[in-house]
């Protein structure tokens, strides 16, 4: 088991197989550990930029895909490829969290989730004009053509 410590100091216990879907955690667990530094499970892995809400969503995704082989490529060629129905429901359930998931997945090195979240965010932006984008991301428009 692996203990993950979120930015809001919540300790979440995860199975190794699920945690290792993250390239970052996989590398950390593969690194040599000196027992003098303490109990590894007790010490946990700090994820300072991931909140507990977002981490739980990401772990939900990892648990669903834990049987699949690792995919370390940030694909761009198959942008028209189909999205799995479960993935589609997962990422569209809370559109406002999609961007947070992309950032956290990028930090945790989970390429398929980065791609999935990027598609969802892009879908939110598609077809909108500059004014609507400014409103969506709370940007001050400082450019006039």
């Amino acid at each position: 088991m692996v203990v993950l410590i979120t930015s809001d100091d919540e300790r979440i216990v995860v199975e190794d197989d699920i945690a290792k879907r993250s390239g970052l955690i996989r590398d950390l667990l593969a690194a040599p550990w000196d027992p003098k530094d303490g109990d590894r499970e007790y010490m946990g892995i700090e994820l300072p930029i991931v909140s507990s809400d977002v981490l739980k969503k990401i772990l939900e995704y990892c648990e669903h895909h834990k049987e699949e082989p690792f995919d370390d490529t940030y694909e761009s060629e198959d942008m028209f490829a189909d999205i799995d129905e479960w993935d589609l429901n997962f990422i569209t359930a809370d559109p406002h969290m999609a961007f947070e998931i992309v950032l956290a997945a990028n930090y945790l090195e989970i390429p398929p989730l980065v791609s999935l979240g990027s598609k969802a965010v892009a879908n939110m932006m598609r077809g909108k004009d500059a004014e609507e984008i400014c409103d969506m991301f709370n940007i001050e428009k400082d450019f006039e053509p």
Binding site: S76, F80, I83, F99, L103, A122, N123, K128, A130, F137
Partner: protein, 225 residues
């Protein structure tokens, strides 16, 4: 009071001081500096560091420092020249980021999933975004894939001279790296010939989609004819 200063100060809504008096900077702040560093550093004989004008010294009756725009300290205009700006006022740094705060590669990855009509609209959002979308990374990650998506790059079946020129550019790493793919996309978008080419490819894609050869499912956000 010199002519330039008279014109500038009322516009900025700043109280005009009497001529020849120092008025900018903080007297108390300078006093703290003097108290902290009591030793006067001799630069050369008879001249020490503290005797030089920094623009903070409010006691120097001969000085003519005035407030300029944006809290810059400028010297009064003399003989038509405004000179002696304080050399420690840096302009604010603007970050070269996308409007949403994320690494550039993630941001460009998101933008790479947008379609052609959406991207030009996003360039109008802000200067920062426009700069980012014109950078070298965006050329490779954004505009080149978009040109390919709209079939603005030749395939093996294109045998014309113009297609061969584009194909040779793509095959040369040195030339490919300096191509302005954003402009290429824009030129192709404005070309009726190229738009007709896209239309034909889409028609073929539609047939393929209806026959179930594209592998998409209805309702998928990335499934689009």
């Amino acid at each position: 009071m010199r002519r330039g200063a008279k014109e500038r100060l009322p516009q900025k809504g700043i109280h005009t001081p009497k001529e020849g008096t120092w008025r900018c900077g903080s007297r108390s702040a300078w006093a703290k500096v003097k108290a902290k560093y009591p030793l006067q550093i001799q630069l050369w004989e008879g001249v020490d560091l503290l005797s030089l004008r920094y623009g903070y010294d409010a006691d120097d009756e001969a000085g003519r420092w005035i407030d300029g725009p944006d809290d810059e300290y400028v010297h009064e205009e003399e003989n038509g020249i405004t000179h002696l700006k304080r050399p420690d006022h840096f302009p604010p740094i603007h970050e070269h980021i996308l409007p949403f705060r994320c690494p550039s590669d993630v941001g460009l990855n998101i933008l790479s999933y947008l379609d052609g009509p959406s991207l030009p609209a996003l360039q109008l959002v802000s200067r920062a975004w426009r700069d980012t979308m014109c950078c070298r990374l965006a050329q490779r990650c954004l505009w080149y894939p978009l040109a390919r998506q709209y079939r603005f790059t030749p395939t093996d079946t294109d045998w014309t001279r113009s297609a061969e020129a584009v194909r040779q550019t793509r095959s040369s790493p040195a030339r490919r790296s300096v191509v302005d793919w954003r402009r290429h996309y824009k030129d192709c978008w404005n070309s009726l010939n190229m738009r007709n080419r896209t239309r034909i490819f889409r028609a073929v894609w539609n047939i393929s989609h209806r026959l179930g050869h594209c592998g998409c499912k209805e309702g998928s956000p990335t499934c689009r004819p």
